[in-house]
């Protein structure tokens, strides 16, 4: 028997008793699972006359839909409502002091747990290009205790501090893989010793302070300069010292006079007073004269080159008296 397709929406009525005799064939048809009897196909259509649902929207649902399709309302629902909701929830949550603290604590914990991972830890500082004392100084001034997290290290700040040290000319600071803070330092090379009333310093070629000395003898290899403001014209001093090499051991040092010109001081209290302008040229002239006339070997107290057009020699007291004696002896009054 053909299976009848049944409309599931309709209630199925069942015969009150199981068919028998010549109707028994129908018993092979659909049995109700609960065994109530045989369904009466089509009996449910008694209910069919009930009114079907109206497909048209009701007046209010129509209006509501139109209202929801209005662009302003749509925008408000899409952006305004989520925003207000998030804002309300956020402010309700943060209104309690306890919850706020807990949130801050939680954030701090998470931060710390990330920052203190071994990948981000810096364990030691390596310093290249600095002597022992300078390294010790650098270790002293860098204000971090290792190991520390690389998030806490401000590399630029460390560099500023290291460069701030006098003996350091320049420095690069970086964090090397493996948790090492690498500090590469270029030290200042001292070229002169500068003696002042306060003490003895060594300066590099730019006149910058490198270190203090206890005694001149500690750096006997370096030439000596003296006088106020001498450190501001170290470059000129270096040029003069270079030009004064023929004087050799006789040179004692340079004296800055009135913060504007140099005196070259030799042993036996001899001085070569150089002009403000072009002092090297003046010194070379003196040396040339010395070469020929052995000027400085004589009993001369000072060679005054301050006026280039009129170089002047001051003799010592002995020499003057000797000169007078010789003139008297020769007697011609020349």
């Amino acid at each position: 028997m053909q299976q009848v397709k049944r409309n599931r929406l309709l209630p199925v009525l069942f015969r009150s008793k199981v068919p028998e005799a010549q109707d028994a064939d129908f018993a092979a048809g659909d049995y109700d699972p609960q065994g109530q009897g045989i369904p009466l196909e089509g009996a449910g259509r008694i209910r069919l006359s009930t009114k079907r649902a109206d497909p048209a929207p009701s007046r209010w649902s129509y209006r509501l839909q139109r209202w929801m399709l209005t662009p302003g309302i749509r925008l408000g629902l899409r952006i305004g409502v989520p925003f207000c909701l998030a804002f309300a929830i956020g402010s309700a949550f943060l209104s309690s002091e306890k919850r706020r603290d807990a949130l801050n604590m939680f954030v701090a914990d998470v931060r710390a747990s990330i920052q203190e991972r071994p990948e981000f830890m810096v364990n030691l500082m390596a310093i290249d290009g600095a002597g022992d004392s300078l390294s010790a100084d650098i270790r002293e001034v860098v204000p971090f205790d290792f190991p520390t997290s690389s998030f806490d290290l401000d590399v630029e700040q460390i560099r500023e501090i290291v460069v701030g040290l006098d003996p350091v000319k320049s420095a690069t600071v970086r964090i090397r893989p493996g948790g090492i803070l690498q500090v590469d330092v270029v030290e200042r090379m001292p070229v002169v010793v500068w003696r002042t009333r306060e003490g003895i310093e060594i300066l590099d070629e730019t006149g910058a302070h490198v270190d203090d000395l206890k005694a001149r003898a500690d750096r006997a290899d370096l030439p000596l300069i003296v006088g106020d403001g001498a450190d501001k014209s170290v470059a000129e001093a270096m040029a003069l010292l270079h030009a004064a090499q023929p004087l050799g051991k006789r040179l004692r040092g340079l004296v800055r006079i009135g913060e504007r010109r140099w005196d070259v001081v030799l042993d036996r209290d001899q001085r070569i007073m150089l002009p403000t302008e072009r002092p090297v040229r003046a010194l070379e002239r003196v040396l040339a004269v010395n070469e020929v006339q052995e000027l400085l070997e004589r009993d001369v107290a000072a060679v005054d080159m301050r006026l280039g057009a009129r170089p002047t020699i001051r003799m010592t007291q002995n020499a003057v008296e000797e000169w007078w004696r010789i003139r008297k002896a020769s007697g011609n009054g020349q």
């Binding site: 089509g42 497909p55 929207p57 209006r63 139109r66 399709l69």
Partner: protein
């Protein structure tokens, strides 16, 4: 009375302008068998393609269909509303579905309907020009000089379109403005319908919280969409076979010059089948659309159709009928409709037109073999028409049943100048200077 109509039509034009500014308007075709709604979005004026040809969309590129819905019509008979609540619900259903598809709220609607006894009048007038040149005011003056016939109490003018201008002895001008001459004559086509039908439709649309931005006769709009350009120019008749009424429109020189409707349609064929075979209307409709036809052949005698039933009575539910019988039921009714159309066309003097092209459209035109039958009754040059293609129209709405909806879209995008698009001549305002002042303020501020 004339002024009232003038004002209400102008108000609708104003609404249409607002809708264009907002860029969205709904198209509502209230038919007897279905109510279809399209939502149009206007994106700028229609542009021609680069090579200045009219392009594949026939120049109709100024708008796009963004929502479409169709629902079974309720409470509409012969193209007129006769159960207001039901119709309102059906309109709401269609509009809601279309709005949902378009995802935008629509506030303006342009509607068309087919019934309400449309009647055509040809008006003409001639005036002497005050100035040498024809300007807007002169056109308005000649239009208002037309002597309106007595078209009966309770009827309203639906369309009043100037179809032809003549300047001195030159006729056939479509736009005389700016031309020089002595006397200007105009021929105008005026279509009147029962005012009650319009009022009912307006009321239904108001109850759906919508503004009516225009109203048109479906005879006119289905002619716009299903007649091709040449046919509109050379003269053709468009026969829109709807559910409850069959509307006829005759076009010449791109203007509608005659419209009428026969109060019979596809629903009558269905009810014939329903009565003849003793089946419910729904079954009859299904049988008609799947198996219907108007030409019986020998094979149709052996082609048995299961007409079914739902009573639970085995004998009753397994009735069959041969296709020849079905055709025997359908054919006389279709013939009757076409004979009636023939009579209307004859009355309109269609056989005097230069071209005798007839285009059948509307849902009823899908009956198999209809073109053969129609060419026997109406004349040799009959074709089945489908609406023009427009942007974004879903495939399901491209059939001939949607020619009036599509035509209404075209009408909404490019309405033809009607009487009320010209200013009322000044002399009509005489003695109402206060109103004029108010109007001036309203227009200018």
């Amino acid at each position: 009375m004339m002024a009232d109509l003038y004002q209400s039509q102008r108000a609708m034009r104003q609404m249409r302008r607002q809708a264009m500014q907002r860029g969205v308007v709904a198209i509502l075709d209230v038919g007897s068998s279905k109510i279809s709604c399209l939502v149009l979005r206007f994106d700028g004026t229609g542009r021609l393609s680069d090579d200045n040809s009219i392009g594949s969309m026939a120049g109709q590129t100024g708008f796009r269909v963004i929502g479409a819905a169709t629902t079974r019509s309720r409470g509409v008979q012969f193209g007129e509303i006769n159960a207001m609540q039901e119709t309102e619900r059906a309109i709401r259903t269609a509009l809601q579905a279309a709005q949902k598809m378009a995802e935008i709220r629509v506030d303006h609607v342009i509607a068309c309907f087919s019934g309400a006894n449309p009647r055509s009048y040809g008006l003409d007038a001639q005036i002497e020009l005050e100035s040498q040149m024809v300007n807007e005011a002169e056109v308005a003056r000649v239009l208002s000089a037309c002597d309106v016939p007595e078209y009966g109490e309770g009827r309203d003018v639906l369309h009043a379109q100037p179809v032809n201008f003549a300047l001195d002895h030159r006729s056939g001008l479509s736009d005389p403005r700016g031309q020089l001459g002595q006397s200007l004559a105009v021929d105008m086509h005026m279509l009147t319908v029962d005012g009650a039908a319009i009022q009912n439709l307006i009321h239904c649309i108001k109850r759906c919280d919508l503004e009516l931005a225009g109203i048109a006769s479906s005879a006119y709009v289905s002619g716009i969409s299903s007649l091709v350009e040449d046919e509109q120019e050379l003269g053709a008749a468009c026969i829109d076979m709807g559910g409850g009424s069959t509307s006829i429109s005759i076009f010449l020189k791109k203007h509608m010059i005659y419209a009428d409707s026969v109060r019979m349609g596809g629903d009558h064929v269905t009810s014939d089948i329903s009565m003849g075979l003793g089946v419910p209307m729904a079954n009859a409709e299904r049988i008609k659309t799947f198996c219907g036809g108007v030409h019986a052949t020998g094979a149709d005698d052996r082609d048995m159709i299961d007409i079914g039933g739902d009573t639970g009575d085995w004998e009753h539910d397994r009735r069959t009928v041969s296709r020849a019988e079905l055709i025997g039921i359908m054919r006389p009714r279709v013939e009757e409709i076409l004979e009636e159309v023939r009579a209307r066309l004859d009355a309109a003097g269609f056989d005097h037109l230069p071209s005798q092209q007839i285009v059948l459209t509307g849902g009823g035109s899908q009956i198999m073999g209809l073109d053969g039958l129609a060419s026997r009754i109406l004349g040799q040059r009959v074709r089945l028409g489908r609406p023009l293609r427009v942007h974004g129209l879903p495939q399901s709405a491209t059939g001939p049943g949607f020619s009036s909806a599509v035509g209404l879209s075209l009408f909404a995008a490019n309405p033809q100048d009607e009487w009320w698009d010209f200013e009322i001549p000044i002399d009509r305002y005489a003695g109402r200077s206060l109103k004029r002042a108010v109007k001036w303020f309203r227009d200018n501020w």
